[in-house]
Amino acid sequence: MTAPVRERRRIGPWIAGAVLVVLAAFIGVLATGGGSDGVRSTLIGRPAPGITGDTIDGASYDLAQHRGEFVVVNFFATWCVPCIREHPELVEFEERHRRSGDASVVSVVFDSRPEQVRDFFAEYGGEWPVVLDPDGRTSLEYGVTGVPESYLLAPDGTVLIKIEGGVTAAALEGLLEQVQVADVEGDHLGDEDDEADES
């Protein structure tokens, strides 16, 4: 009568061990699979997706023609309050660099109608190209998840940094300086979300 009891005791540690192995495996999966840093940095260091299309003025724009200068690609919407707040900063940055010709700004419309965008620029100023994106494909290729969102492109067309949230002229200038210093030292800028955020 005692034999089955002994056998049952021998199986106990095996069951406990199996449960431990399964739990350890799940913990391993959770610990190694949850990183979200890739979402924001997939474009960094890679060639920027092309931007071609009509602007709100009826002209055409091609990002490839802006090689040799830094480009700030700004995704915005007319209904977005942080976009309205950052707009004067973009105006200041663009005016300063239009004279020197070393950097330019291009805006890509995110979910706003052309007439709304024209009214927006008439009210808040800004003389850079504003590219329409009717099917949202440009926003998709840049992985835009909300507005405002900006990308700083190097003169060779690679994506240097992605900025989520509003930018300031001072922060953009700081980034340009950082890039130039990094170029001299051979470093690269990483993904620095909100670094240039107003707040």
């Binding site: 089955p4 199986i11 069951i15 199996a18 399964v22 495996a25 799940f26 391993g28 999966v29 190694t32 699979g33 979200s36 890739g38 979402v39 924001r40 997939t42 474009l43 995110f110 979910d111 099917d135 949202g136 494909r137 926003s139 998709l140 290729e141 840049y142 992985g143 835009v144 998840t145 909300g146």
Partner: protein
């Protein structure tokens, strides 16, 4: 021995039915699907980048609409469902996919439930085998006397 074999038949039948159901679930319903059905299925497997807990198929956010349009366009161009999912994951990261990858450590998510089920089934088989009365049990004279006494005491 014959009784034991007869007792096993229901279990064999249950196992056969279960295996059959698994096979039907695994290979059944694989007829040609329309492009719209495929687009819907792919969109359901991609997380909306602008919203929490919604798939691209269920969201009206601008980026979700853009992804749906792109999915349809790529399907029309002849890309496979996995190619499209890989394209989206390349932009938004692996977290954009609502179905975990089948390789790497995350692939354990697919393997562990099956391993757990097989282990549990094996455990049940072991337990049931233990519960069976051994065929070579010999009843001693003392046992027979005890049974006889018990019968007598319960007779009216």
């Amino acid at each position: 021995m014959r009784d034991l074999s007869r007792a096993r038949w229901p279990w064999i039948l249950v196992l056969a039915l279960f295996a059959g159901a698994l096979v039907v679930a695994a290979v059944g319903d694989r007829g040609p699907r329309t492009t719209a059905e495929r687009a819907r299925a792919v969109s359901e497997s991609i997380a909306c980048p602008q919203c929490q807990g919604q798939s691209v198929a269920d969201s009206e956010a601008p980026s979700a609409r853009a992804i749906r349009t792109e999915v349809a366009r790529r399907l029309e161009a002849g890309e496979t469902d996995d190619q499209i999912r890989d394209y989206i994951a390349g932009i938004y990261g692996e977290d954009a996919l609502l179905t975990p990858p089948r390789d790497g450590v995350a692939g354990l998510i697919w393997f562990l439930p099956v391993a757990g089920f097989v282990g549990a089934l094996g455990g049940l088989v072991v337990v049931f085998r233990r519960w069976q009365v051994p065929e070579d049990v010999e009843v001693s004279d003392e046992d027979q006397v005890l049974v006889e006494q018990a019968r007598r005491s319960t007779r009216p």
